[in-house]
Amino acid sequence: MPLEWIYGLVGGLIIGLAGALFLLGNGRIMGASGILGELVDGSAKETATEKVTFIAGLIVVPGIVALVMGGSETNLTPNLAVVIAGGLLVGIGTRLANGCTSGHGVCGISRLSPRGIIATLFYLLAGGITVLAFKHLWGFI
């Protein structure tokens, strides 16, 4: 499916441009988990407003784009236990590691940060093993 690769590449370039804009414009690292997490635990302090505005854009704009494109679907599992467990793990894990796919993966690797590279190796490996175990061994997802 070569078309999907092109969507991936174009979408990726757009993600990178957003990160470049946030860095050069506001001097901030575009890490989704840090932006939300610092609002949730109250450590955002004077950057709180900017973080709320970022999240507003992150929710509203793709919502409009999805509408224009005729709707979108996350295909999230209907198994609520899996949804809740997944959410809790993503929340705790990204805050302990101080970053997720955007912060460590995109912003970290692009400046050859050792922490970013190691975090990315660990979460990709853990994600791969989880899919292997829960999909192929136990048929859960």
Binding site: I14, A18, F22, L23, G25, L58, T74, G87, G93, F122
Partner: protein, 142 residues
């Protein structure tokens, strides 16, 4: 200006996540499914995103302050601690289970249905819970 840039960056980020397929949990899980029907699209997403970002870091290195006058982030931290490894493993497990990471979870809030909102609430609860967990892991490493 600072708020305008923040809104735009968030909006452009979310649009990229949507177009790239990162908000489609089946696609994300297919990328992690190395032993099954592997979908390599996300490698293109990562590569595509790293390229402009690498250029931005280069530009930032030559400047003292950002466009709005704030200082740039400190140089990359070199400290590899247990929290980084433990946290990344937990995050990877949750990402594999659900197919959602924090950015796409927020970007899909308007079309992700009730399940998506439950995921967001669980993720926020996990982020809150990370505060005491962090304190609990911390003494072990010093």
């Amino acid at each position: 200006m600072r708020q305008v840039i923040a809104f735009l960056a968030g909006g452009v980020f979310g649009t990229g996540l949507l177009i790239s397929g990162m908000t489609n949990t089946l696609k994300v899980q297919a990328w992690l499914d190395v032993f099954g029907d592997w979908d390599p699209t996300l490698a293109f997403v990562m590569g595509g995103a790293i390229l402009p970002m690498a250029i931005a870091w280069r530009i930032a290195a030559r400047r003292k302050i950002s466009a709005v006058g704030t200082v740039f982030p400190a140089p990359a931290d070199l400290k590899i601690d247990p929290k980084l490894a433990i946290g990344s493993v937990l995050f990877g497990a949750g990402w594999g289970l659900s197919g959602l990471c924090p950015g796409p979870a927020m970007a899909s809030a308007t079309f992700g249905g009730l399940g998506g909102l439950i995921f967001l609430l669980s993720m926020a609860a996990g982020m809150k819970a990370a505060v005491p967990v962090r304190r609990w892991i911390e003494p072990a490493q010093s």
